[in-house]
Symmetry: C2
Subunit: 218 residues, 2 copies
């Protein structure tokens, strides 16, 4: 994770041009380093990927709660707050799924740039999409941590809290990841969560990883 100084705007000086004023305009600079120093944490994106029902959002919300209670600034981006708002004009075609992840990746980058520990929870089944999100973070000098929730299909299908797998098996949902559309297992995930670890155990494991990586100072 390179530690670039990422300036969001350069200092400019220009005359207002108005006859009765002679204002010098300086745009301020808030660098990632300044945010890091003042807030005691580095902005970063933690990207939770895995099958529907794997436990991504449960883990993300558990970790968010743990972080916020420890006074770290954190926020979960997931299907619920994205599909009903920003991406409410996207469906589930291949092109729309790609655009869904592209937008979410860009929003994650903005959140990370703002200094937040951003917990992005999306099935995101395609390697190429995840790779692109990683790239825009690394290009901006922002840590990107891929977390694979390695819950096997048969466990997810047994849980099936929203009865989505049942519907997919009956053909009522098309292109359902794991049933009628592929899930490409991450090859370079920083963290893999095994099926038997509880949300609390997993959240503690990730919390410790963030300390170790000096993303949070606890």
């Amino acid at each position: 994770m390179p530690r670039l100084q990422f300036r969001r705007d350069s200092s400019v000086s220009r005359n207002s041009g108005h006859k009765s004023s002679n204002v010098t305009w300086h745009e301020s600079r808030v660098t990632q380093d300044l945010r890091h120093r003042i807030f005691g944490q580095r902005g970063a994106t933690l990207w939770f990927t895995g099958l529907s029902g794997a436990g991504k959002s449960t883990l993300a919300f558990t970790l968010e709660h743990k972080l916020v209670n420890a006074r770290f600034k954190s926020y979960v981006l997931d299907g619920d707050n994205i599909r009903h708002g920003l991406n409410n004009n996207l469906g589930f075609s291949d092109a729309d799924r790609e655009e869904n992840i592209r937008r979410v990746g860009e929003v994650s980058r903005l959140f990370a740039d703002a200094g937040l520990i951003t917990l992005s929870s999306f099935i995101s089944p395609f390697r190429s999409d995840r790779r692109q999100v990683r790239k825009i973070h690394e290009d901006a000098g922002l840590p990107f941590i891929e977390i694979y929730i390695d819950t096997p299909l048969e466990v997810c299908e047994e849980r099936d809290p929203k009865q989505l797998y049942a519907k997919a098996r009956r053909g009522e949902i098309k292109n359902f990841t794991g049933i009628s559309s592929p899930y490409e297992i991450p090859e370079q995930a920083e963290i893999v969560i095994p099926v038997h670890s509880s949300p609390d155990e997993s959240a503690t494991l990730i919390f410790d990883y963030l300390k170790q990586q000096k993303i949070i100072q606890a």
Copy 2:
């Protein structure tokens, strides 16, 4: 500004269903009130609107710097970090301009929900678009503060730092706000910034307004 408790997810309890584990799943709840209490600020969106060259981004960056140095979490969303990322697939047709503001409005709402003082700086010439962004904030119980940078066209055109007005006058840029496309003056702006106030003066004025409204505890 109503002060609703906005729960992002409800507490659920479900069995994992896997034979060899018996995990109870609890999704955590981080409410706006919890963030408010822990971080000493309420998430809110400050929406800077006005002509190109009016001084919106200069003021937004000045205020961001002032807030961050006072240890408040703040972030500027503006054309530079949005048009090159999230909205890099949008042009300047009427439909694309509307979609541009819609997406930026949704992202502002997410930032405000995360507890940040969000400074959104966009020409946003149409009342209906600004009204819609206000609505999604108020529906979520999040403060929305419209700030009109009331710099007259002749002053903006005299400044013309990027020579955009000159190009628009020569017809090299179509649909340029103020020249060949209307700017609809806000009717319900919470704050109006007059042309002769300096960025520092204006930033101080807004900072004091945020204290008065108990959005920041300074």
